[in-house]
Amino acid sequence: MIQVSGLRRSFGAQEVLRGLDLQVGSGEILVVIGRSGGGKSVLLKHLIGLLRPDAGHILVDGVDITRLARFALDRIRERYGVVFQGGALFDSMSVYDNVAFPLREKTRRRGADIRQRVEEKLAQVGLEGMGEKNPAEISGGMRKRVAIARALVTEPEVVFFDEPTTGLDPILVNTIHHLIVELHRKFRFTAVVVSHEIPEIFRIADRVAMLHEGVIVDSGSPEAIQASANPVVQQFIRGDVEAASR
């Protein structure tokens, strides 16, 4: 569904992506792991068209989105849902309005139809009755769930999760992971999850790709990645401080 080839991107003198290749299959949950500051979020921003690469291609169903003009790119984005690291909820709106916003702005749905859909999504993420709250009044875990509800409310084909569990306690981490799996099973969207939650993330992934120094150094099933012979992958999974600092 998504094919990335030879992706390169520098910021000043620092080359963050160095000819990255990656494939995302339709309907799978692909988890991209890697060290903090290793370019995972930069890769995600390229996939959703927020950044343009210096070189390389990103094909979405055969269309190279790196060459698209804004309006054509928007047609691709209409098939996307994105859960940002901090939630990126509109703080001037209530929880309900945040979730309803894409429906009001991008669909012909109105009134009771929107209300029913929003309440359904809030219930699916375990936030029924919380619609009138402001984003500032709810906890970090709740904000992540509202962000998931907002990303899924238009029933997108592809959902991108940028470190959806950062800053949450272990129980909430598992709750969010469980939610992603449950919603994926129900709606069959393609999911790209950027995370460094090891080993919890292996439970939800269909496939894992390890990003290191701007390239994907290994990818495969969670079992294959855990058994990888690549020392960089093993160092990351084991959290080997000495090896990492060498």
Binding site: K45, I48, G49, L50, D74, R75, R77, E78, Y80, V82, F84, Q85, G86, A88, L89, F90, D91, F101, P102, E105, K106
Partner: protein
């Protein structure tokens, strides 16, 4: 040899010229981006769907919520003008010209300028900070990936609201200022109300009112343009937002004064 190493090896005059060239290119690039920002916003202002709800909300934020400060400032400016001009004119026995002097000063000059400066401090800074926070918390990115145009949602409404509210607030400032001067000169210093308003009718014409109107209209665009631009392109973190807010207020205030001189020398 690295690029930096090669640059360091060059003679000083070459490095100076290179540095100056880079600076000029940077300034030209920034000015181009600044200009394109406004042009894009003005184009989207006329391309449907126009976000009327957002515009109304911004009119409320920039205009309605600035009313108290505009009335207070206008009132006291008029009172100070009334007192000072009365004292000066009384030396020449020309107190009769107090009304037109106050009205012309307020309508042509002080009303548009002071009102714009006050609204920059109250609403312009808040616009920059709000947009800056939206930028650093990825709310702007969230709009973009929803295939919604941030310019249409975040930039056009304040600029249209500035065009609507600045002339109205300036008119209010002028009226309150004229009554402030009336209070001091007629009620406190004993001048005749008929003289105060009668001479005003004689000396103030539509061209003066239109001068004030065009100035306030252009300040409405200028202030919202600068403040939204600075917020939209703010730096990273809280420091970036703070710096953008300061720059927005300073740049708006300076441009108001410069543009006022330019308008004053062009308009009749």
């Amino acid at each position: 040899m690295t690029g930096q190493g090669a640059a360091a090896a060059q003679p000083l005059p070459v490095r100076l010229v290179g540095g100056l060239g880079a600076l000029v290119l940077d300034v030209v690039q920034s000015l181009g981006r600044f200009g394109r920002f406004l042009v894009t916003a003005l184009i989207y202002a006329f391309v449907p769907p126009v976000k009327l709800g957002r515009i109304a909300e911004r009119v409320h934020f920039i205009g309605f919520r600035s009313l108290v400060i505009v009335i207070l400032t206008g009132g006291f400016t008029g009172m100070v003008l009334g007192l000072q001009i009365f004292l000066v004119l009384s030396r020449f026995g020309s107190e009769a010209f107090l009304g037109p002097a106050v009205a012309l000063a307020l309508i042509r000059e002080l009303g548009p300028v002071l009102c714009a400066l006050i609204v920059t401090g109250r609403a312009g800074s808040a616009l920059t900070a709000e947009l800056g926070i939206m930028k650093i918390t990825e709310q702007v990115d969230a709009l973009t990936v929803m295939a919604l145009n941030p310019t249409r949602y975040l930039i056009v409404p304040p600029i249209v609201a500035g065009i609507i509210t600045f002339p109205l607030m300036t008119a209010l400032f002028d009226v309150v200022g004229i009554f402030g001067a009336y209070l001091v000169s007629v009620e406190l210093l004993g001048m005749s109300a008929g003289t105060y308003f009668g001479e005003m009718q004689t000396f103030v014409d539509l061209a003066d009112v239109m001068t004030g109107f065009w100035k306030s209209l252009s300040f409405g665009i200028l202030v919202t343009w600068v403040c939204t631009y600075k917020g939209y392109y703010c730096g990273h973190g809280a420091e970036g937002v703070a710096r953008a807010t300061t720059q927005a207020v300073v740049l708006s205030s300076v441009l108001i004064l410069v543009w006022d001189y330019f308008m004053g020398s062009v308009l009749p």
